[in-house]
């Protein structure tokens, strides 16, 4: 079983568009949308959710207002400024302390040191995982509630589920849409992958961020290809991207032209391949290069 992860460094380079197109071209595969902060793959693969479950990322502190004596120790100890005196009144005080869930890091300090043990540590549902049946095969995806930061764990869970299903159905390929950036969720989505495809764009920011993402995949010693999307926006920088790839030992997967069809496909809720045009032709070329490495 092979696992291809598509990443981008910078956001908005067309990573999800390329992922959907490759998913349309490959066969016998499972898809995983590991870009859990901006989970958009489901919008262009025409699927229906067939299974879902809560994702419990960790625990958060919750003050039991009835038992709070408003001593303020929790507020004094919290390094994340998550505790404020904005809870309801109770029998002994006008206002109690409350933990703002968006700011709570789940460290447990207030839970441990509340003199009257009025702070609970409760498992916190930070979103849900979903399985959809799509025209291109099964898709594992998720939706996180706003402010949830621990998506590395969710990425690990999605990939694991995808791997299990692929093994069970004897499918040979997992195509995963990774996160932008170089942070924790990206690392979680590329560790153990067989191959990485980096989708970049010919802009100063694109190149600036590609360099970091390139270093990342090399450090994990994962074979990686690079393609440049919307290459004709700046042909000089597109050439610089290719040159960077050559110098850094990244394989060249080709370039994809700027094409209105990409937007049309998204509006129609289909992949670029189903909206035939110049970019679709280019993506087929990218797929050939990728498939040869798998």
């Amino acid at each position: 079983m092979k696992e291809l992860t598509i990443i981008s460094g910078k956001g908005g380079t067309g990573k999800t568009t390329v992922t959907a197109a490759l998913a349309a071209l490959g066969d016998r595969k499972v898809m995983a949308d590991c870009d859990v902060d901006a989970a958009d793959l489901a919008l262009v693969v025409r699927g229906e959710v067939i299974e879902r479950g809560d994702f419990v990322g960790g625990s958060l502190a919750v003050v039991r207002a009835d038992d709070c004596t408003a001593c303020g120790r929790c507020e004094g100890l919290c390094r994340f400024r998550a505790v404020r005196k904005c809870g309801p009144s109770n029998a002994i005080c006008n206002a109690t302390y409350a933990v703002e869930p968006l700011s709570c890091e789940g460290c447990g300090v207030c839970v441990e040191f509340c003199p009257v043990s009025a702070v609970d540590f409760r498992p916190h549902t930070s979103g849900e995982w979903l399985i959809s049946e799509t025209v291109h095969g099964p898709l594992f995806h998720a939706s996180l509630l706003p402010g949830e930061g621990n998506s590395g764990k969710l990425v690990a869970l999605l990939r694991e589920k995808a791997r299990r299903l692929a093994a069970q159905m004897d499918l040979s390929l997992i195509i995963a849409d990774g996160s932008p950036g170089i942070g924790c969720p990206v690392i979680a989505s590329i560790t153990g992958a067989s191959l990485v495809l980096v989708v970049t764009e010919p802009t100063l920011s694109g190149i600036y961020d590609l360099e970091r993402v390139g270093a990342l995949v090399q450090h994990f010693d994962i074979e990686a290809l690079v393609c440049v999307n919307k290459w004709d926006i700046n042909k000089g920088l597109a050439e610089a991207v290719k040159e960077y790839a050559r110098r850094s030992g990244l394989l060249w997967a080709g370039r994809i032209r700027y094409d209105e069809a990409a937007t049309r496909a998204q509006l129609a809720g289909v992949s670029l391949i189903e909206c035939d045009g110049g970019a679709a032709y280019d993506v087929r070329g990218v797929w050939e290069k990728v498939a040869a490495c798998l």
Partner: protein, 315 residues
């Protein structure tokens, strides 16, 4: 709750030395043009005589400097506390390791190990140690650089490679805010660094594009801002005639669309070269001048409406 409730536009032209007006630029997904809008607006505001401070809070990948091209004048380190063990006092009771939710301090056999890269700097191990064997030492987690370019005071945070905690670096960037107009460039998404950036802002502009992806991610960002009780509006980038999904959504949710920037290949090309599009593409400057004027109105009014009010979390 959003800007539309503050339509009684009071002109924003308070005298010098007034408290800062803090406007943050955020987006549900990356690549919508947040930095483009924030940097060009900064220049337009400076040209209008504003005292402008640009805070690049996207500390993982700060790109604002590629456009404003500031000359950096100072740099200071940002640190956070990590545990320091005094083995003369430690009796290896294991309480610190049991307490730490992040495995940043772990007892293996008769050894106590610390992993600064996993530490969230909560201070819990120090508090929980019964013999006072743990103190804190300062660990560098990033830096804040300050400079100026194009008439704009420029501040950016840089998270150190391998460091986990972006919020303290963002918080240090925000401390550099001055009087006048403060523009905050937030990281994309809705995770903790974004919340740290937006917290205490007077007004938020959500930059989106009129595509299904843009709309999907915008809706999540809107939910986050409503949870934070922050006034906001939407700016549609790469607007195309006939692409009304985002406009329909905003109308339905009573969200003000403050400006539209047209989908124009020349803008994309100019951006790719690290240029300021107000200077290179005809018709763009006037859009930003209009945006600036409207923003001063709605954000100034929103500030008067929200100052002194607690920002409440979700129930």
């Amino acid at each position: 709750m959003s800007s539309h409730t503050h339509k009684e536009a009071v002109p924003y032209n308070a005298p010098a030395g007034r408290p800062a007006l803090r406007i943050a630029f955020a987006s549900g997904k990356g690549g919508t043009g947040k930095t483009t809008v924030a940097t060009n607006l900064a220049l337009v505001a400076a040209a209008a005589g504003e005292e402008v401070t640009y805070l690049d809070c996207d500390v993982e990948v700060p790109d604002g400097h590629l456009f404003i091209k500031p000359e950096m004048m100072s740099r200071r380190e940002v640190t956070a506390g990590i545990p320091r063990l005094d083995m003369a006092l430690c009796d290896v009771c294991g309480k610190c390791g049991e307490f730490c939710r992040y495995s940043a301090i772990t007892v293996i056999g008769k050894k106590v190990l610390t992993f600064p890269g996993l530490c969230h700097h909560c201070g819990g191990c120090m508090l929980v140690c019964p013999v006072g064997a743990i103190s804190e030492k300062a660990q560098p987690i990033g830096s804040v650089e300050e400079g100026a370019g194009r008439g704009v005071r420029f501040v950016q945070g840089l998270l150190k490679v391998g460091a986990l905690a972006a919020p303290p670096v963002i918080s240090a960037v925000k401390e550099a805010a001055a009087d006048g107009l403060v523009i905050l460039d937030a990281p994309p998404g809705t995770s903790c660094p974004v919340i740290e950036t937006l917290r205490d802002s007077d007004f938020v502009v959500l930059v989106t594009e009129p595509t299904p992806f843009g709309l999907n991610d915008l809706a999540i960002a809107v939910e986050m801002l409503r949870m934070m009780s922050l006034p906001f509006c939407v700016l549609v980038n790469r607007a195309r005639p006939g692409a009304t999904q985002v406009a329909d959504y905003c109308a339905d949710k009573s969200i003000d669309i403050i400006a539209e920037i047209p989908d124009d290949r020349r803008i994309a090309e100019s951006y790719s070269r690290g240029e300021m599009i107000i200077e290179t593409v005809n018709g763009v400057r006037v859009i930003f001048e209009g945006l600036f004027e409207r923003l001063c109105d709605v954000a100034g009014a929103a500030r008067r409406g929200t100052r002194g009010r607690h920002i409440e979390g979700a129930p």
